[in-house]
């Protein structure tokens, strides 16, 4: 095993970096050696091309010349005149290498004798030196025939060659360093891209993806890379991946992009487009109503015009096609095409691809780009019908969830009206128990009264399999975990159970008492009757009753604002949100419908929902459609007739108060209603009337208002026209009176 420090080192040091360091060291070594050699050569006076023997001979000559100069100056100082002949001050050693002449006062002329080999170029060459009595300094210059420059000392070279190689080298080095410093300073201060990054580090996320390698180098030169990444909140791993993106092949690029948004990508063959198409399955956690999309990577070299032409003739059905451009040349044309919200094309230009790869939350980039380029309603996160399936679209109910999730598994009876969120709550429970270490949760929606057959079909068993065997099978699938079975739509099942003596319910009770399985049953009126009215029902003590009503106010506000905010849309002011939530009576589906309608009304580019949008939404068919369907809450037609009369009476009273859409403006008491029936000669039992009020309350049509009842949803009154409701009430009362009279007559 490698020691930890080596492992850490391997992690931190890349081969490329190591090679670069080695290259720099090699360069420093080479320059250092050169400088050292030149320096030594300068000290010794030997050029780099001198052979050692000649160099030694010249060394002796330089030494003799220095001695002769010294002697001549001594002579001058002693005698007051310059010697006529060298013999006057200097005894020449007969080494056959140097000759000396005094051609004029203060001048000594040195000749290289025949002792030097001819190939050295030194034989019979001359050098003159002149003494300046004022300064006491010697100057040197080549004579005729001159010594080869390679053998001259620096002070004997012509004035133009006064700098030594070392000085030259130092000069070059200084200039180079200065140039480098200036270059880097210029780069840092004058390059608009780098200057911009200094002011706004997050702009690093929004650079053309093809420019990243250059930026990578530049930031490296400036030693600012790590700091810049940190300031821009870019993970280094993301940065490295983005650097490799430009060089990657299509499959790898599609995979990189998909992974960033947790999508599953697979090739989609058979398209007539130049390039490659991939099918993406998007995760349910995405805060948009988009579970599938196509990614198109155009072939290299495709022109913008050709690409647009292909896209215009393309049929993708309702699938969104995301085009990731190959280069900046096609960006403008593809962006222009995709910006038309009439098509389902989305363009990821070079900058957006970069942001996609570098943003700490890439899903936000996806949402933003889709919101900019598609019709908002195509991707609206609001689910207006059925149980909420996307986690991001589920709001509130925290206390109810905690009641179920934070306890030991038990039995629950979830009672509530239609479209109040029973299914959404059960699905949320199922999601939270997914992969739970000790609870195995399974959701089952009944489609008729047959629980056993439904469960058997779900578990792919014969329809007639007994329910305890099915639960046993579930338990085996659960392993060591406890089983919690969520059973939705149980009204028909309970109705049938009531008729047949509760045989299957007894089985469920027995299974839960044995600890083999626990149940949550969800339903409306039949479940409520069984739990609250039918004292003989075995379900009364079966489990804890959870009554589902309005969504919490803050959750409604969150539902109305947060999904919009992700799309870059907001309400004009907070009062509108409060009004919306109030008008909807805190019913989640109505809040979602109004927000969805508001989105549909937004003009292109408009990002603010105003009062007009809200008013239009409140009068929309979609809202009225959601409010309808209350007229048959019970299987008993007589119960339904009583329900209708109560609702019409409340609506009539509401209209009489000016029809203000405020909850609880008018409250109808049970006593008043009984008196109304009495005046019309209708003999309805108090039990039946109380049952109707309870049913309407459970369905969230009415709610308690002091001593009486009023509409739970202020907007509910909008479906009644003042004149119409009188006629409707009169007709229902008359019909009930006739029915009562007939019944009485029959008796």
């Amino acid at each position: 095993m490698s020691p930890p420090w080596l492992t850490r080192l391997r992690g931190e040091v890349s081969w490329r970096r190591l090679l670069r360091v080695l290259a720099i060291l090699a360069g420093i070594y080479a320059v250092g050696v050169l400088i050292l050699r030149l320096w030594i050569a300068n000290l010794t006076g030997f050029g780099p091309m001198q052979d050692p023997e000649t160099a030694a001979m010249m060394g002796m000559n330089w030494s003799e010349m220095a001695r002769a100069q010294s002697e001549a100056v001594e002579h001058f100082e002693e005698h007051g005149n310059w010697p006529d002949s060298p013999r006057a001050f200097y005894r020449v050693e007969d080494n056959g290498l140097l000759r000396i002449q005094t051609p004029e006062p203060f001048v000594l002329r040195f000749g290289m004798s025949r002792g030097f080999a001819p190939e050295t170029g030194l034989r019979d060459t001359w050098l003159s030196t002149r003494f300046d009595p004022a300064s006491g300094q010697w100057t040197c210059q080549n004579d005729t025939p001159p010594l080869p420059k390679a053998w001259l000392r620096g002070d004997c070279l012509p004035p133009t060659q006064h700098w030594s190689p070392l000085e030259w080298l130092l000069f070059v080095l200084i200039v180079a360093v200065a140039a480098l410093i200036l270059l880097l300073a210029g780069l840092a201060l004058l390059d608009p891209r780098l200057a911009g990054l200094r002011k706004q580090p997050r702009r690093l996320r929004r650079q053309p993806i093809s420019e990243l390698p250059r930026l990578h180098r530049q930031l490296g030169w400036l030693r600012r890379r790590r700091a810049s990444l940190a300031a821009a909140e870019i993970a280094e791993s993301d940065w490295r991946e983005a650097l490799s993106y430009a060089q990657a092949d299509d499959d790898a690029r599609a995979q990189m992009l998909a992974l960033r948004v947790a999508a599953r990508s697979s090739r989609s063959p058979g398209w007539s487009l130049p390039g490659q198409v991939y099918e993406w399955k998007l995760p349910p956690t995405l805060p948009l109503a988009l579970d599938r999309a196509l990614l198109y990577l155009p072939a290299a070299g495709s022109s913008a015009r050709d690409l647009v032409r292909h896209l215009q003739s393309l049929q993708t059905g309702q699938d969104v096609l995301i085009v990731a451009t190959r280069d900046a040349a096609t960006d403008a044309a593809l962006l222009a095409y995709a910006s038309d919200t009439a098509n389902l094309c989305v363009c990821l230009d070079q900058i957006t691809q970069c942001e996609w790869l570098l943003h700490p939350t890439p899903a936000d980039v996806l949402v933003a780009v889709l919101a900019r380029q598609l019709r908002i309603t195509r991707i609206s996160p609001y689910q207006t019908r059925g149980g909420i399936t996307r986690p991001a679209a589920f709001f509130g109910r925290a206390q109810l969830l905690a009641r179920v999730l934070n306890r030991e598994p038990g039995n629950y009876l979830l009672v509530g009206g239609r479209q109040l969120g029973k299914t959404s709550l059960m699905k949320a429970i199922e999601r939270r128990f997914a992969e739970h270490p000790s609870v195995y949760c399974h959701y089952l929606s009944l489609r008729d009264h047959r629980l056993g057959a439904r469960l058997a079909a779900e578990l792919e068993q014969p329809v007639e399999t007994p329910i305890d065997e099915l639960v046993g099978l579930l338990a085996r699938r659960a392993g060591q975990r406890r089983v919690l079975l969520l059973i939705d739509e149980t009204d028909l099942f309970l109705r049938e159970e009531a008729r047949s003596g509760y045989a299957q319910l007894a089985s469920l009770r027995s299974l839960s008492e044995e600890g083999r399985c626990h149940f949550m049953l969800a339903g409306f009126w039949d479940l409520y009757q069984a739990t609250a009215i039918d004292y003989a029902s075995p379900i009364r003590n079966f489990g804890e009753v959870i009554t589902l009503g309005a969504l919490e106010a803050d959750a409604c506000v969150a539902l109305a604002t947060e999904p919009l905010a992700r799309l870059g849309i907001r309400f004009a002011h907070a009062d509108l949100v409060a009004r919306l939530v109030h008008a909807c009576g805190q019913r989640a589906n109505l809040v979602a419908i109004l927000c969805q309608h508001g989105l549909e009304q937004l003009e292109r580019g408009d990002r603010v929902l105003g009062e007009t949008h809200l008013n239009q939404a409140m009068a929309s068919d979609a809202l009225l459609d959601a409010l309808a369907g209350w007229a048959r809450l019970s299987p008993d037609p007589a119960d339904c007739a009583l329900d209708r009369i109560i609702v019409y009476r409340v609506a009539q009273a509401h209209a009489g108060q000016g029809g203000e859409a405020t909850a609880g403006a008018v409250a109808l008491t049970l006593v008043e209603f009984m008196q109304l029936l009495g005046r019309r000669g209708i003999a309805a039992s108090a039990e039946a009337v109380r049952g109707s009020f309870a049913r309407l309350q459970l369905a969230y049509v009415l709610q308690r208002q002091g001593e009486g009842y009023a509409f739970a949803v202020p907007l509910f009154a909008a479906q009644f026209h003042a004149q119409e409701v009188d006629a409707l009430l009169e007709r229902e009362l008359a019909a009930l009176g006739v029915a009562g009279a007939t019944q009485a007559g029959g008796v």
Binding site: G317, Q383, R385, G387, R447, L624, G629, E724
Partner: protein, 421 residues
């Protein structure tokens, strides 16, 4: 008010133009009936039981010994449904005995620019998340669904021919579960299906292919209510299990709307979005004129006179082509005697209360605020009979009589009824 003598009104209806197409001789009825019975091996007893007539009566029809009387028109329609006849075949059978068609013939039926309407409908269906379930609710004379062939063709283009199903639940009120789901399975190309769970399993397997499956469901509201509810449960369950994969277009009229808004127990319909078929526009009149070979026409006038009624519009167009100089008053009077209007009105006038209410309403310009589901049963019936229509005004959507000819027809019928009484 006194009871209505319907025979008086029927006599009036027989006088109306277009009541009997002259292309089909009456004597064809027995041979047509025999042919259709043989096709599904239906017995006279089976038909008799289904339509509530005696076996002898049906045998007499089959042998040509007698033909159905006008009061038995509904029986003939029920018989056609039992024999699983197409709309065209049903119309042929009715024409063979001298009755008006039940379904508007393709060449007479005016449909809005079908391709765009169908396209918009399927666009909307495909956009519904997470449950792509759409109910197309259409009033009388538009067909259920309108432009079925165009819908199926467009669906095949979008989903692929192998991924398009058309479910037509059996009409019979006495079908057993095995027969009901076996018939549905046959329509889907499934074999060895004899129960609801087998049908659900087969459809579920089909959905596991990963490709969205389009399913057009027509006649959903008809047939056995219990089995219909089971079918609804299956479709709901599969929609949930295969989220976004099963694209359902459920077509129907008044009964389907009642199921959605009054049924309450069918969560399939609770989670379905509703759609309506667009009203006629000038472009549709142009298409109709082109089909009829009429070169010169005033589309706006046709629309105004007919109120966009799918059967009155071709009649108005034809009248204008014959005599362009006729006044609006003349044309309204002529259109008011159009047989389909009378057929639509008459069932609504069967009781005194309704007659009084309609008499009062005929004097009103606006009948009520339009709602997705009308609370007043009489208004609901008028709406589904296509006699009233919701129109947008600055102060909201209001229900109005389709056109002056409809109101005039109502007045004439009431006058006849009063005279007969």
């Amino acid at each position: 008010m006194s009871p209505i003598d319907i025979s008086v009104v029927h006599a009036r209806v027989r006088l109306c133009p277009q009541s009997v197409p002259d292309t089909m001789p009456v004597s064809d009825f027995p041979s047509l009936l025999v042919r259709h019975m043989r096709r599904i091996r239906a017995s006279a007893a089976g038909i008799a039981s289904e339509i509530g007539m005696s076996r002898e009566a049906v045998n007499n029809w089959r042998n040509g010994d007698s033909v159905p009387s006008r009061k038995h028109r509904d029986k003939v329609v029920a018989c056609a449904a039992y024999l699983r006849l197409s709309e065209l075949e049903t119309n042929e059978l009715l024409a063979a005995v001298g009755f008006e068609p039940e379904f508007p013939a393709e060449h007479d039926r005016v449909v809005p620019a079908a391709t765009s309407a169908v396209g918009a409908l399927l666009d909307r269906l495909q956009q519904l998340r997470p449950y792509p379930i759409l109910m197309l609710l259409t009033p009388a004379h538009l067909g259920q669904p309108p432009e079925r062939a165009a819908i199926l063709a467009d669906a095949q283009r979008r989903y692929g021919a192998d991924n398009v199903l058309h479910l037509q639940p059996p009409f019979s009120l006495h079908a057993d579960a095995a027969g009901y789901f076996s018939a549905l399975a046959e329509q889907c190309g499934f074999r060895d299906v004899a129960s609801d769970y087998a049908f659900e399993a087969a459809l579920s397997r089909r959905l596991q292919s990963g490709r969205p499956l389009f399913c057009l469901v027509s006649r959903f509201e008809q047939g056995d209510p219990l089995l219909r509810d089971v079918l609804a449960g299956i479709l709901r369950s599969l929609s949930e299990m295969h989220s976004g994969q099963l694209h359902l277009l459920i077509c129907g009229g008044a009964a389907l709307a009642d199921l959605k808004y009054q049924g309450g127990d069918l969560s399939l319909l609770n989670i379905a979005a509703s759609a309506s078929w667009p009203e006629l526009a000038a472009a549709d009149i142009a298409v109709l004129a082109d089909r009829a070979g009429i070169a010169a026409f005033d589309a706006e006038r046709v629309l105004r006179l007919s109120g966009g009624h799918p059967l009155l519009a071709p009649a108005a167009l034809a009248l204008l082509a014959e005599a362009p100089g006729r006044s609006d008053a003349d044309l309204i009077e002529a259109l008011a005697t159009h047989a389909p209007l009378w057929q639509s009105f008459l069932p609504l006038l069967s009781d005194a209360t309704a007659r009084a209410a309609i008499t009062e309403r005929l004097g009103q310009e606006r009948l009520a605020m339009a709602q997705p589901y009308l609370l007043d049963p009489l208004l609901r019936r008028l709406y589904w009979a296509n006699l009233v229509v919701a129109r947008r005004h600055p102060d909201g959507n209001w229900l109005e009589w389709r056109c002056a000819a409809v109101r005039r027809a109502g007045v004439l019928i009431l006058a006849d009824l009063d005279a007969g009484a």
